[in-house]
Structures are given as C-alpha cells and as structure tokens.
Amino acid sequence: MQKQQTKPMPACGKTKKYFLGPVALEFVATKTGVWRSVRPDVNLDVCVFCGNCGKHCPADIVSVEKAKRSVSFDWDYCKGCGICANVCPKQCITMIPEEGVCKL
C-alpha cells in the first residue's frame, strides 16, 4: 500500500507552505479559440472603428485602434459566437468558416 503523508512536507532547501482544502491559486485562461467554427472577418474599407464589436464581445478579445485603422482579434480565445458581426452598425464583419473546419 502507498505510504500516506500525514503532514505537508517541506521541499528541500526552502520551506514551502501548503493550503488545506479547496482553493484556486492560479489565474489561467482556457484556450477557448479551439471551439471556433466560424471567425469574424472585418472589411476595413467600411469599418468606422466605433468599437461596438469590442464593447459587446463576451470574451473581450477585440482590439480596435482607430489611429492605426486596425481591428484585431485574439484567436486564442475567440469562440466565434458572431455577436461582433451582429452588433456592427456598418455590418462590415462577416463570419467566415474556419479553414480547419472546411478541410474536414
């Protein structure tokens, strides 16, 4: 039978502290981008950089920079829900199939 520890053991050289019971001590994002089957595609010719897409993104992964005329998405986390496309006043965002999905 496996020998059970009855005490938290200090690690070699330095004293470590251990909590007992349920607690989360790491801040970690899940790579929800892998859920995506469609992705937003912005027509920058039409875009007025109002930021409405970013304001309504549930994952807060849209970056709109008017000065640089850029709209970017963090593909690690974009779930491809399509809210950005739907709230766009200029309707300049199109949801296009993910290539990976099309290949299947």
Partner: protein, 290 residues
C-alpha cells in the same frame, strides 16, 4: 499569491468556458470592471461558477468564494462584516448569482440581508431557468417558455423579483440588460456607490443561447428586443420609491418579435402569447405611472 499563468486586460481571463454567445459572460466583464480590484465576489453554483474556476485554476483576478446555492447574500454579509471589523469597510463585497439562486432558493437570505441593510451589492444574472444543470424552469422563467420541467410551456407568470427587492426600500435597485451595456455600466457604478449606505441590487437580463434556443450571434439583439417588446423594461428604483425608466420605449414592438428569436417559445399557443402581451403591456403602464 495568485500565480498569473495567463494575461488579461480586465479582471476576468479572456478564455472562460462559458458557451459561445453567453450573455452572462458579457455582463460579468462589465460588472467586474466596475467593481474593481478592491473587491470580493461570492458566487454560488450555477453558470457563474465558471468564473470560480476548477481545481487549482481560476479565471478571476479578485478573491472569491463559491458559496451554496441559497445563501449568496449571507456569505457576502459575513465577509463584509469581517472587513468592516478590521477597518477595511472600503472592500466591496458583491454576490453574482443566477435566477434560480436568487428568486427561488436564495430569496430568504437575500431578503434578510436587504432588511438588515448590509452594505453589499447583489447581482442576479437572469437567464430565466436553471441553465447550468440543463434548462430546468425557475421562478423567473417567463410565461409560455419551454424548459425541461415546463415541457408544455410555463403556465404561470414569473416573479416580480425587482418589485420584491424594492419592497425592502434599499438605497438602489435596478433592472439591466446585456442589450444595453452602457446602461448596465452606469447602473453598476450607481449601485457600487450606493453600498456606502446600504445594499444595492441589480437584476441583469442575460440571454442564454443554449437554453433559449436563440442563435449565439443574436444574444445582444435578443436582449434588446426583450426591452423593446416590454418583456424586460429597464428602470431603477432609489430607496424603494423613486422609479426612473432608463430606456423608455415609446413604440413597443409586439412580443411576437421577441419570441420568434427563440425556440423555447415555438410551442406557445396563441392564447398564451396574447396573455403574455397583455401582461407586459399592463406592467409597463403600471411602471410608467409609478
């Protein structure tokens, strides 16, 4: 100390395991943003427990406690008292609970905290059923809506939760919606300020594509339509008496415009829809006259 294994520009990680198009996730980012880092959140089981995290991992940067379904307000009250007694009354304590955990099982402890004027902010995110356990009907499920426990459509009208809260005459109470995020943000700021004198309550309408049978991309649209069809009027109540409609609707859309965006109403009989229309119209008139 929390080990930061991911980066995020707000207080919530960008990758949260909420469904695509989740109204709660959108609301939560605004809520946490307004509350700021000097806060503690209490979250009961439910969809918001996705923000508590799993095992050693969490997706929130502020300290939090996952309580029990029926006692979010009581945990928050105790936490607030603990800080107050240590001269740290500036720490904001807020609860983030679903409709089931609020209007059903959590009503008693919420009422107690409101009556005692505990200086906490309670936010109910309302997706109108027990979504996390698989779409069972709650006291907040609207008339005629399908859920797994109202398979023929819910036969009775929902609870007027904000009315119940207002009856406690707390400093600030409001309805809000992810369809009107600026309105939500303003109300959050007012609510946070109100906790200097007593409890504040915000009831956020948060569409659930999974449970409502709406398209994920329609979440904001559905939420807006709920407001425009008078199914979810946006207003605030100061001290239980001063009512203000924050998003007035002068030309309401028929409820059918709202219902047709969601599969959960597809089986609703014409008579039920009529009944719903009459109810929401009547309620809105009453609201305007307050």
């Amino acid at each position: 100390m929390l080990v930061m294994k991911s980066e995020a520009r707000g207080l919530i990680a960008h990758g949260v395991s909420a469904c695509a198009g989740c109204g709660l996730e959108l609301a939560a980012r605004i809520i946490f943003d307004v509350m700021g880092a000097n806060s503690v959140v209490v979250i009961p089981p439910g969809c918001a427990a996705l923000f508590s995290g799993y095992g050693r991992e969490t997706v929130t940067k502020i300290p939090g406690f996952q309580g029990n379904l029926e006692s979010t307000a009581a945990y928050a009250a105790g936490i607030k008292a603990g800080f107050e007694m240590q001269g740290r009354g500036d720490v904001q304590v807020f609860g983030l609970a679903g409709d089931g955990a609020t209007v059903d099982i959590g009503l008693q402890s919420l009422s107690g905290a409101l009556e005692r004027r505990d200086k906490i902010l309670y936010i109910c995110y309302d997706n109108e059923a027990y979504m996390n356990t698989g779409i069972q009907g709650s006291g907040s499920t609207p008339l005629a809506a399908w859920t797994t426990t109202t398979p023929g459509g819910k036969g009775v009208y929902r609870k007027d939760m904000v009315g119940i809260v207002a009856a406690h005459k707390i400093p600030y109470a409001a309805t809000a919606s992810v369809g009107y995020v600026d309105d939500l943000r303003k109300k959050m700021e007012k609510a946070k300020a109100a906790t200097a004198t007593g409890p504040a309550y915000i009831h956020v309408h948060a569409p659930c594509p999974t449970g409502w049978g709406s398209k994920p991309e329609h979440t904001v649209e559905v939420a807006k339509m709920a407001v425009q069809s008078l199914c979810w009027p946006l207003y605030e109540i100061v001290n239980g008496v001063e009512y203000t409609v924050t998003v007035p609707v002068s030309k309401p859309k028929p409820v059918t415009e709202y219902l047709k965006l969601q599969k959960r109403f597809s089986g609703a009989a014409a008579s039920q829809v009529e009944k719903l229309q009459a109810m929401v119209t009547g309620d809105y008139e009453q609201l305007l006259n307050r």
